[in-house]
Every structure is written in C-alpha cells, then in structure tokens.
Amino acid sequence: MDKLRAKVRSLLTEGKVAGYLGYLIKDGHPLPHFFTKENLAEVDQAMVAPDSARYPLDKLLIALAGRYPEAIFAIQVRGCDERGLNELYKWGQLDPEKVVPVGVACTQNQADYCECPGPWASVVDYGEKCLPVAKSRRVERIDTLAEQDAFQEWLAAFKRCIKCYGCRDVCPMCFCKECSLEHEDLMSTGQLPPDTIFQLVRAIHMAGRCIDCGLCEETCPADIPLRVLYKKANALVKDLFDYDVGSPGAGPSPWKVLGEDATLEAKPM
C-alpha cells in the first residue's frame, strides 16, 4: 500500500490533482472516500478495497466532474473501472485530460470470480498481476442449453425482479438523464414482476457499454444472473462489430456511428 499512498500524497501535495477518489476504513467498513490536500493525514489510511468491497467510483467521479468541470481528479481504478473511464470518455461523460488513474491489480480469486479477461489497470500502483480469465463458463453453459430450456431459466430469473432499479442505479455506465426502463409508453408501470422484456431492454443498452464490473449482479436482491446476460451482449458486439468495450484503441462504439459500410446482411427468413 506504501507505493499507492506515496503516489496519492505527491499528487495532492504537488497540486497535480484537486482530490483523490479512493477507499478508507470507516467503522470497520471500507468505504469510498474523497482525499484532499487539506486532510493529507488521511492518506496514511488510504487503502485498496478488498475483493468483495467495491463501489462504482467511476460514477462518483462523473458527479464530481459535473460539479467541478475544471478540476483534475485522481481515482483508484481496477481493470474494470479503467475500462469504464475509457468508455465514459467516448460517451462524453468524462474528460481524459482531467483524470489521473491510480491503478490496482486484482487478486486471482477476484479474477476467477469475475471471469475477468483484464483484471488490472494499465498502471499498477498496488497488487500483482494475476492470470486473466479468457472465457466465461457461465455464458458457455447457457449457450449449450436448448432454446426452450434457456427461456425457462431466464424467465424464472426475470420473474423474481422486484424492479428496484438497483442494477441501473449502481451501474457506472448508466448515465442517461432519462431512462427507457421508466418510459411510460415503452414499459408497463405499477406491476410486479415487470414486463418480461425489462432485463432484455437493459441488456440492449449495456451491450458495447458494460465494462463487466459485476456490481449490478451483486446489488440485485433477486439474484438474477445479470452479469451473464451482459457478458453475452458484449460478446455479441465483439462478434458482430469487432468492438472491445473499454479498450482505448477500440475506436467509436458501433452504436454511435452508422459506419462507412454496411458490414452485416439481413438474415434470410
């Protein structure tokens, strides 16, 4: 942790950043914390949230940057958080000139749990790089099911939804001012379970945008395997458009541009 703290301390004291978004233990819990030069002593307690304690720091940064558009902030990022930053730059939600990443490498345990193909940030200020996980067994399992069985499985999961919107509210990549999930003409209101298409609509919006942090699934009180759905949505975007979500070199999102050529054909009936 010394290396990370030293980096944060010098960023703050040299005035390179107006603050650092990281974690601090409060009442025994690791919680997001905003570190500043004025409270420099707190940096001695700055830490990396352990595997299971994670928050959408990118989302907090969007709020901060909105309030202080001129300021530069440092932020603790894991692999997924950094993919999030890269994607948020593209969608005009953050300015790369105003963000300094403080990078973390995740543990093997965490990478295995997440089935994560990129479990570290491009700069590593804490942790050792572990082995990435290229494939998702959870997705592969569903892929092998007969369509009818896949339907029954998803239907049973979707029916448990209590429409708390937790998946959306925690998501660092959900930044729209108006949400389709609450559009009165497109989604039935005042009923549980919600429309069967509720999770599919969200999956459409997350395809090519989800940075696979897994916070939605961890938040969901109904244990809906949301991450599997969005992992697949991203895999389809990769197959169809060769787009790698969150990679700095990936070019514009396929949903943002019409494209110079129509690279796909309509499927025959």
Partner: protein, 143 residues
C-alpha cells in the same frame, strides 16, 4: 404447437420511402397477402429501436417484420446500416435467452417491389403460423 386455427398477430415497422410505398404498390396492384399484419409507418427503418420490437412482443405480437430500403437506397443515406446492426444483434440476444429469434425478420423492400412485399408478408405469416403462438405471451398469461 402448430395450430391450423391460429391467426398470428404480426407487427410491421415499414419505412415511409421504400417498404411502405412497396406495400401501397402491392395494394393498388391488388396483390393478395394475409391480413395478419398491422403496419406502423416510420420515417426510416433506422428509427426503429430494439426496444420498440421488444415492446411489440410484450404486447402480444407473434411476429415482428421490419422493412426498409435496400442498402444504398436509404433516404437518409445510411440509416439502414443501423437497422441491420440492431436487428442482427437483437436476433442473437433473443436466441441466447430463448426468446424465439425467428419471430423477428428484417427485409429490404423497395417502392417498386410490390410483389416482393406481398410474398414476404405471405412467407413470414406462414412461418409464424408454423412456429405457433409466442412463448413470451404464454408465459405472461400463465403468470
């Protein structure tokens, strides 16, 4: 699930400039096609969101047919590039979740292709009749 008395509900999203005009031509040429289709006219097939398609399925459509101009003929130049991206993606997502991807079809039909329009509607209606009533609606009704 095939049922000879089953009359499917089919929603057509047709672009104003090509497929809708093609439907008009089929009409004035007195070409026969099944009356299962309910048409929604849109300015460009590229304005049809996957959410609109899902909404149609949720509200009871057994099939959804998207019609647009041929590639290169879109009146907004490349609007239909987005149409094919969205619909191909949605078909694959529907497949993964078992939501019967065959119920969604995209066809390019120009204003001059009245016969192709009638044939497409006939074929698609026939296909949906074979697939039978929507799994999603059966699930909603059972709930």
């Amino acid at each position: 699930m095939s049922d000879s008395t089953f009359e499917p509900k089919i929603i057509g999203f047709f672009c104003n400039w090509c497929t809708y005009a093609g439907a008009d031509l089929a009409g004035v040429s007195r070409l026969q096609y099944p009356s299962n289709i309910r048409v929604i006219r849109v300015m460009c097939s590229g304005t049809v969101s996957p959410h609109h398609v899902l909404r149609a399925f949720q509200k009871g459509a057994d099939g959804v047919l998207i019609g647009g101009c041929h590639i290169g003929d879109c009146h907004y130049l490349r609007g239909n590039y987005m149409t094919v991206k969205r619909m191909r993606f949605l078909q694959d997502l529907l497949k993964f979740t078992g939501f019967e991807p065959g119920r969604l079809h995209l066809e390019w039909i120009s204003a001059a292709e009245g016969p192709k329009f009638a044939q497409t509607v006939r074929d698609f209606t026939e296909k949906i009749k074979k697939i039978g009533p929507s799994r999603l609606i059966a699930a909603v009704k059972a709930a």
